[in-house]
Amino acid sequence: MNPVVRFSALARVLHWLMAAMVLGMLFVGVFMAATEGPAYARLVALHRPMGVAILLLACVRLANRLLVPPPPLPAGMPRVQRIAALGSHIMLYALMFAMPLVGWGMLSAGAYPVVLWGPVRLPPILPHDPALFAALRHLHGWLAFTLFGVIVIHLGAALLHGLILRDGVFAAMASWRRGRRDGI
């Protein structure tokens, strides 16, 4: 295989780290919202700091994305695919920010303390408003389903590039081999 142009090392580390964290959070989230079992307490206690960690990593990732351009898409890629790629990436980035912010805002509006770890708590970012809490709690769920859907499509598209199109798009993020002209 010809050497590919990979994403920068930082972009690849952030991508795979956050892929694991975000997917893990989605599974933890839907499970804890559907259990009356003893795991609920531990999962909620995990969910809050993980969400804040994802929010912080998303900031680093967005800055990196803006400062270090990603490898270009293959020259022959149809326009529809380019739009789909751009659109899905914008959605992924937007939801990486929206999910933790909506979660934080929801706890704020519900007058729940936003406990990270032991004595470390975050201040509320919205006023105490039960109706707003209810709306944000529903939004948090629907955004989670949307994010999960986009991730599944993203996964399918990535595998399509890697296994069938073999146009270097998959390898740009997933190859262990050093590329010919890797991004920094």
Binding site: E36, Y40, A41, A75, F133, R137, L165
Partner: protein, 372 residues
């Protein structure tokens, strides 16, 4: 930094990828589909969509609605209530057991709520109905502590599932208005722990009103002190005022009327008594009482001096989630607080998004009893 990729990099050659219809491609497409379906299936399992028997929060709400009906805007359990406010004055005596800010020798603001167990917001008061006190204790510089405590000696189920099954087994028969013995009998036979707990609840002394009642955590928690020493505890709020006349038990809202009358005359106080569990005491099973001779520490005094209707009151927009705990108080292996925390979150989400009827205890009823 990069150069555009060009056609020759494609393994399929300049003409693009292999035909969609060659067997290898179809196999790969199938594999991709399987991976996607696998992830979606795992997600659906996590969400409980593939497990009709799993007790989810939504199904707990369904059980409460099946027993008590649907009452939009109200808490799904302990629906009939009134807000109260006051303060908690720590004695400092529990500070060696727990590093929680609320146990430093300070005065903490309190937003509380008295309620009757059950999901019916307009049920008639009656002596034997379970009464509850809910508290949000907010120390001036430190983390808050929330609790919902009840005037029974033990909880009636060991797990959320057992509680749900008890609710459904003892729900009133529409024909008679009473639980159906044909359903209750077999349930209790299969749940001797519930039968034992119900016997203890049935044998409890019943105080005349809210103000002279004792409210207990039922669940075990852990106090953690500054040295990291963890102590199993349960606690109760023991009344400091004697009971009113026990005879006046008439009227739809007599328990609440009495409470409002008492609060209109003078503040009501309770001592927070913390029971120190021995290592042998069960922490995971709230249906089992601890031995009566366990050491108790008087952690402070709760004083309530203001009542408010839930309509516009300060207790309405919060949930008395028993897992809202400050550093220094931690859950034990008792599964009930987590189940309540989960159920309260769902109940809060539902009711806060609904339009509510006026509460049974109205602002006018409160105003009529207020001190001049």
């Amino acid at each position: 930094m990069t150069e555009p990729r060009s056609g020759p990099r494609k393994e399929g050659g300049a003409s693009g990828p292999a035909s969609l219809f060659d067997p290898g491609t179809l196999l790969r497409l199938g594999a991709i589909g399987l991976v996607m379906m696998g992830v979606v299936t795992a997600f659906a399992w996590s969400a409980g969509w593939l497990s009709p028997r799993r007790l989810t929060q939504a199904r707990m709400m369904d059980a409460l609605a099946a027993v008590d009906g649907v009452h939009p805007g109200f808490r799904r359990n302990h629906a009939k209530g009134v807000c109260v406010a006051g303060w908690f004055e720590s004695s400092g005596q529990a500070a060696s057991l727990s590093k929680a800010a609320v146990f430093r020798p300070v005065r903490s603001a309190v937003i509380g709520r008295f309620a009757l167990a059950g999901g019916m917001p307009f049920q008639a008061d009656a002596p034997a109905k379970v009464r509850s006190m809910a508290l949000r204790i907010m120390p001036p510089d430190g983390a808050e502590w929330r609790m919902g405590i009840n005037d029974i000696p033990v909880f009636v189920a060991r797990t959320a599932r057992e509680f749900r099954d008890l609710l459904l087994a003892t729900r009133p028969d529409p024909a008679t208005g009473k639980p159906d013995p044909a359903r209750v009998g077999p349930f209790l036979a299969g749940h001797p722990d519930v039968a034992r707990a119900l016997a203890l609840v049935g044998a409890r002394p019943i105080s005349p009103g809210f103000g002279d009642d004792t409210y207990r955590s039922l669940d075990a928690f852990r106090f953690i002190n500054a040295d990291g020493v963890s102590t199993p505890v349960r606690w109760e709020m023991a009344p400091m005022q004697p009971g009113g006349p026990a005879g006046a038990v008439t009227g739809q809202d007599y328990l609440f009327d009495d409470l409002l009358t008492a609060l209109g005359r003078h503040p009501l106080s309770w001592r927070l008594m913390v029971t120190i569990g021995a290592p042998s005491d069960p922490t995971a099973d709230p249906t089992l009482p601890w031995p009566a001779d366990r050491r108790q520490v008087e952690a402070g005094t709760l004083t309530l001096d203001v009542a408010q209707s839930e309509d516009g009151g300060l207790c309405t927009g919060i949930t008395y989630d028993p897992l809202v705990l400050p550093p220094g108080i931690a859950p034990s292996d008792d599964p009930i607080p987590a189940a309540r925390s989960a159920a309260y979150m769902r109940s809060f989400t539902l009711r806060a998004g609904e339009v509510k009827l006026p509460s049974a205890i109205t602002p006018a009823m409160i105003a009529a009893k207020e001190r001049p």
